[in-house]
């Protein structure tokens, strides 16, 4: 430091203060999030406490919801929530993972490139970037599905989807009505429209996380498979998807959390019927839809009951999300170890 020509010097007072300030601000922000979550859980629990004392665990296992007799139980809603979410998850995962494979394995870019080569313009500067740009654009388009408001999905379901699928559903009921899943007809809102819309809503989550998981598979594994004489499908299904499977699974669990909590679209589409049925065409109800539909007319006593239901929903969603986060962390740790 005695050297006159050296530019190096210790950090100034301002730099040190800025450093400390930055650390404090981020610590407080992080703490605020935790405090907020704790506060929400606490307030809901307090509001739910009287109802919990009055109805106990029978609230979770009985079927009757009758405000006139002050009898409340939410088993049909728990069933409806899980049933619609699981079905939507199966549908959404199938299409979401397929879309992720299409987007991250270069199918579109390759097809575009072929067209450009056939036209003889694949080497022109502007056109040569087109395949990758198209692929990026399509990825963003899938993510845009997440930006559509829930109520718009609900309206679309009511006015487009239900009229569209109704003839098919009723035909299925007529021909295959002996199957439990087709044992009622679709008279309007019901499980199937809710499931279809819900699966579209969770598709971006599944696709985005699956894309990342697939993209994080080291390219040398792809080369290894091709080098052994694997076809493209053998490479994708035999090596790439299994290697990315943990990441994909984490995405699926996060999507499940989203499906469980989805409110507006389901309140519009699920039919709000307090019953347990495996039929895809019968109306049902979910916890979130129950809350959304019941709060506007709820008296002070009923609010406690609804808070109890909200706490149950919160519990289910929280557990699912925590599991998803843990799986994601493990997957990225495993990827880091490679």
């Amino acid at each position: 430091m005695s050297d006159e020509t050296s530019i190096s010097r210790p950090p100034s007072r301002g730099q040190l203060v800025g450093d400390v300030l930055f650390r404090r601000v981020s610590q407080v922000s992080a703490a605020l999030v935790l405090v907020l979550v704790a506060f929400i859980v606490l307030r809901i629990s307090l509001a739910a406490a009287p109802a919990m004392r009055q109805h106990g665990l029978g609230f979770l296992t009985e079927r009757i919801w009758d405000p006139n007799k002050a009898r409340y139980a939410i088993l049909p809603e728990i069933w409806g929530t899980l049933y619609t979410s699981v079905l939507a998850l199966i549908l959404g995962t199938a299409f979401g993972v397929a879309a992720a494979i299409f987007l991250s394995e270069g199918f579109l870019a390759q097809a575009t490139y072929r067209v450009l080569r056939a036209l003889g313009i694949e080497l022109r500067p502007w056109w040569s970037k087109l395949p990758d740009r198209l692929e990026a654009a399509l990825k963003n388009l899938v993510n845009l599905l997440a930006a559509i408001p829930s109520v718009v999905y609900g309206l679309w379901g009511l006015f487009v989807l239900i009229p569209l699928i109704r003839p098919i559903c009723n035909w299925l009921h007529l021909k295959l009505g002996w199957l439990p899943i087709f044992e009622t007809d679709l008279s309007g809102p019901g499980v199937l429209p809710a499931v279809i819309v819900l699966s579209i809503m969770i598709l971006p989550t599944v696709t985005a996380i699956s894309c990342d998981a697939l993209a994080s598979v080291p390219p040398r594994l792809r080369m290894a498979a091709y080098g052994l004489g694997a076809t493209r499908w053998e490479t994708i299904l035999g090596v790439i998807v299994p290697t990315a499977s943990r990441g994909i699974f984490g995405g699926v669990v996060l999507a499940f959390g989203r499906a469980l909590g989805e409110t507006m679209a389901l309140a519009m589409l699920v039919g709000n019927a307090n019953q347990i049925s495996v039929s895809l065409f019968s109306p049902a109800n979910t916890l979130a839809a129950l809350l959304a539909n019941s709060f506007p007319e709820a008296g002070p006593k009923q609010i406690g009951v609804l808070m109890y239901a909200a706490l149950v929903l919160l519990g289910i969603t929280l557990v699912v999300n925590v599991i998803g986060s843990i799986l994601l962390q493990r997957a990225s740790a495993a990827a880091g170890a490679r």
């Binding site: 870019a109 390759q110 490139y113 694949e122 080497l123 040569s128 395949p131 080291p218 040398r220 594994l221 080369m223 290894a224 498979a225 091709y226 080098g227 052994l228 004489g229 694997a230 076809t231 053998e234 035999g238 090596v239 299994p242 290697t243 495993a334 170890a337 490679r338």
Partner: protein
């Protein structure tokens, strides 16, 4: 041994070049020009790969030696914009002919890469991967053991075949990849700088292994380690970079028996390269 990709007699009678070079040339590679997009990567490179020999490609970084190697089993087809003029005859048949499926080529010409790249699955499944691709009907376990023995890895892993291939050390992983490549008994084994990610002891083991394997397989290897080429290779090709046209185009300067190439190089470029005057 395996048969060539289609019902071809493999006697090279239909092709003058292969016939001239003799029966013991398994791959007759002649690259006139090779492009990635507008980039001309390699030109004028003709290398005959002889049966049960080790053929090494050496040269400075970016001279296209890996590119040439990847031409031999059509791995370059996976690169967008790849264009190739010339021919690569495998047992007298052009693997770049329209009727040939690149996937089929790769089943007869195996490959080992620079970075060990075992799949994230068990040791057994790694070695069995190629067998299952080829719908092998016999005993998988038997073939896996045989391949692991030939790759000099059996004694180290025989008690933990169910463990992940990723749990092995770098050198073991590379031998696992060799076992995986030879499990299906390919005729030719291409090795792209197989030791560059390994320590000297692991490197030594792989080199010993190559010398053993050449009794059964034909090996072509890219290496930037001149001593390695001297130690293991029967023939060596020296590639260099031509920057005169403004690009970086690799071409073959000299090809011959390793002993001659290293002790009495004909070309000035070869001489200065092997004496360490540039890298």
């Amino acid at each position: 041994m395996t048969t060539p990709p289609s019902g071809q007699t493999g006697n090279g009678s239909t092709n003058g070049a292969a016939a001239l070079l003799g029966q013991d040339v398994v791959i007759d590679c002649n690259i006139r020009e090779l492009f990635y997009g507008t980039f001309k990567a390699v030109r004028d490179t003709a290398i005959p790969v002889k049966r049960n020999n080790i053929t090494a490609f050496i040269g400075p970084s970016g001279c296209g030696k890996s590119t040439v190697l990847r031409c031999l089993n059509r791995m370059n087809d996976l690169v967008r914009g790849f264009r190739f003029e010339g021919h690569v005859l495998f047992r007298g048949k052009d693997i770049y002919a329209r009727s040939i499926d690149p996937v089929a080529v790769r089943r007869y010409i195996g490959m080992v890469f620079q970075q060990p790249n075992p799949f994230a699955t068990s040791i057994l499944n790694n070695v069995a991967f190629g067998l299952r691709l080829n719908r092998y009907k016999g005993s998988i376990a038997e073939r896996v053991e045989q391949a692991l023995r030939r790759a000099a890895l059996w004694d180290e892993v025989k008690d933990k075949l169910g463990n992940s291939g990723l749990s092995l050390s770098g050198g073991q992983q590379q031998r696992l990849c060799i076992a995986r490549a030879i499990a299906t008994e390919p005729e030719v084994l291409l090795m792209d700088e197989p030791c560059s990610a390994l320590d000297p002891i692991a490197t030594r083991k792989i080199e010993e292994l190559m010398l053993e394997l050449k009794a059964r397989y034909t090996i072509a290897i890219v290496t930037h380690n001149l001593q390695q080429a001297m130690r293991v290779a029967d023939q060596t090709g020296f590639l260099y970079v031509d920057t005169t046209e403004g690009g970086r185009t690799g071409y073959l300067v000299e090809f011959g028996a390793s002993k001659e190439l290293f002790e009495a190089p004909r070309e000035a470029h070869t001489k200065s390269y092997i004496s360490g005057q540039f890298s």
